[in-house]
Symmetry: C2
Subunit: 386 residues, 2 copies
């Protein structure tokens, strides 16, 4: 096992009817900016529950944060928050609203030249303050509700970049499975796949003798495989939605990443597919992961065999056959969630990939837990996914 630090101070309020408890979690003299997305929260009753809980607070609204939240949009919220002297933010939405809110939270008091540097300059830019915020999660998927990471896109440069800082841990997150009942099935499917791939990125690497972390990752994968189809079939089953919500949160709150190598190549490649073609995040993961697993089967051999056995129960055949079968079952699972796993399913052709290949060539990044996924291999991975 590798050395590690673990710290996660997010308070979770989980269960039916918990939205009302946010009243006790926000300083009573706060000016609260409520951030949200396209407005579905005004149709499904979440917004009215939130506003009832915020009775007595000074409240500012900022709606319209889009999927893959855009820098251009978020900077409008930053300006509004500065002029209204907002002292607390409440993000009501899924990963995009929460990620966008993390950026807003850090950008409001940012002292540097350009808040975009929070995303581009890594450790070289100093985030020393952030406006505190909580979340009411409406879409189980990204895990953003219990971590300190955010991904933000910028239209003007076709970029999708991430940052992380302990100051942007949510102070609290409300997880009420009931609010997910009205979600469209494709969003639930995306959430299942997103959480599944989050776990894979922290598990399917090389053996690190981290028994608990392996067992917990496998437990999350088994749970998602069990409940994924049920979550699509029975939208109002509380326990299924509760298990989905908790799986998604546990998949990316840092606990299964303790002491182990992580990969994140599927995400890095997938982000470019979103940046260039506007594909849903989970769709990009479903496209990239199966061919990435095939391309890296030698590096990942031991863990692929463990994954085959413990997660899929594959116990017979040659090692190669077991690995093939595990990859086939994984791809079939994504398809069973209603997600097509080929670039051509989305009308994307080989020549359209050239700008992505060029970008990875220019960057010269080496991805994966062993830094062995060069731009040449990224090309092979994407061409195999056509």
């Amino acid at each position: 096992m590798k050395n590690f630090d673990f710290y996660n101070p997010v308070k979770i309020l989980f269960g039916e009817g918990k939205i009302k408890e946010i009243t006790n979690e926000i300083p009573s003299d706060a000016t609260v900016m409520v951030t949200y997305g396209g407005g579905s929260i005004k149709r499904n009753g979440v917004f009215s529950q939130v506003m009832a809980a915020l009775d007595g607070f000074r409240v500012i609204e900022f709606g319209g944060i889009e999927p893959n939240p855009k820098y251009e949009t978020l900077m409008k919220a930053v300006e509004m928050a500065r002029s209204e002297k907002v002292s607390f933010i409440l993000a009501v939405g899924g990963g995009s609203v929460i990620d966008g809110t993390k950026f807003i939270s850090a950008a409001i008091p940012f002292k540097g030249d350009d808040p975009w540097h929070i995303l581009t300059m890594g450790d070289k830019v100093e985030v020393t303050q952030a406006v505190p915020f909580g979340t009411v999660l409406t879409l189980p998927a990204t895990g953003s509700e219990m971590n300190m990471f955010a991904v933000v896109s910028r239209n003007s440069t076709t970029e999708k970049l991430s940052f992380g800082h302990p100051l942007v841990f949510p102070k609290f997150s409300v997880l009420d499975p009931v609010v997910t009942y009205s979600l469209p099935v494709n969003q639930i499917a995306n959430g299942v796949v997103d959480a599944f791939v989050h776990v894979i990125e922290q598990y399917l690497t090389y053996p690190a003798n981290a028994n608990v972390q392996d067992r917990w990752a496998e437990g999350l994968l088994q749970t998602l495989i069990d409940i994924g189809p049920q979550a699509l079939a029975n939208p109002m089953n509380f326990d299924v939605r509760a298990n989905l919500m908790w799986s998604c949160t546990m998949a990316l709150n840092g606990i299964i990443a303790t002491g182990v190598p992580t990969d994140w190549a599927t995400h890095t490649i997938g982000h470019e597919l979103t940046a260039f073609f506007g594909l849903d995040h989970a769709v990009t993961l479903s496209i990239v992961l199966p061919t990435l697993m095939r391309e890296t089967r030698e590096e990942k051999k031991q863990k692929l065999l463990q994954f085959a056995k413990r997660v899929w129960g594959i116990d017979v055949g040659t090692e190669d056959r077991k690995i093939d079968e595990a990859i086939e079952k994984t791809e079939a699972f994504f398809q069973s969630m209603g997600i097509k796993t080929r670039l051509s399913n989305y009308g994307i052709t080989e020549d359209q990939l050239t700008p992505i290949f060029n970008r990875f060539d220019e960057r010269g990044w080496k991805l994966g837990e062993m830094k062995t996924i060069t731009s040449e291999r990224i090309k092979k991975i994407l061409l195999a996914a056509l």
Copy 2:
């Protein structure tokens, strides 16, 4: 799944050589009281690492905190801390030192008549302040390094009682597996059993449709079964000790208890065996759990079958036979750790149990996740364990 809140802000510093990092975690102007037990830390190099990290701080020592820490001892530390104006405590030891330090931390600024009320009056006594503290864990077992609970004994009344409060979460805990290399085998065995039973108390109840929590509990049990014998046989294997340390911490940091019923009857009964006979905590758990499982096999039937299948791989036979086999394997596992599982192994006879029976009769407590374990059934459990 049940509604729940989850909050655990303890920062974990895990790995070889991490003790030196405590320098950055303690306010630089602090007067630090270092609390410890019998002095083994002065022989195994831990104390000198700690003192090197505390170079430049004003440091006060308080040693001699005994196993099952005593109120009488801890109050001496409270007096010393008050007169020396201690502003930070560093607990260096196992669960007893850490539990004792939690009590010291809450008792120093306690405003009520008698600090013993922290333990006896539950929610009726108000803990509003605590002196902040961190820990350097030397004995993986109790999980106290990452939770807000403590158990304290009092000689004058033969009592062993617990309390919990968010103010007594450690600010940080250092988990360096190397410091466990010099532990006596019986202490390692006790740690394995203690963690195992912690998991069982949060898992072996009735089904709550909490898939992740079940999988994670099973993963911890499987890990302890795998590494327990290795930890005894290979004291200097880093990965084995690292897995043991992490298992013990994860077993009782609240995460597997989210949304599920919990039992704690084995602990409650075991505490009396320690209070009256001075048996090691883990020994009492090894004695009580097997007969408690037999006594409550109807209430716990579904989870016992799940435990038999997923943890022990028991797949054939009648339901009754599977349950018998799971209980036998559990008891045999404790014995394989070198712990004898019968009261008579420790020279305890039936008539010596009378004061314990009387105490439970007087209290009238009903224990277990369904509150079905009456004093009559506690008698049966203990008599069956003779």
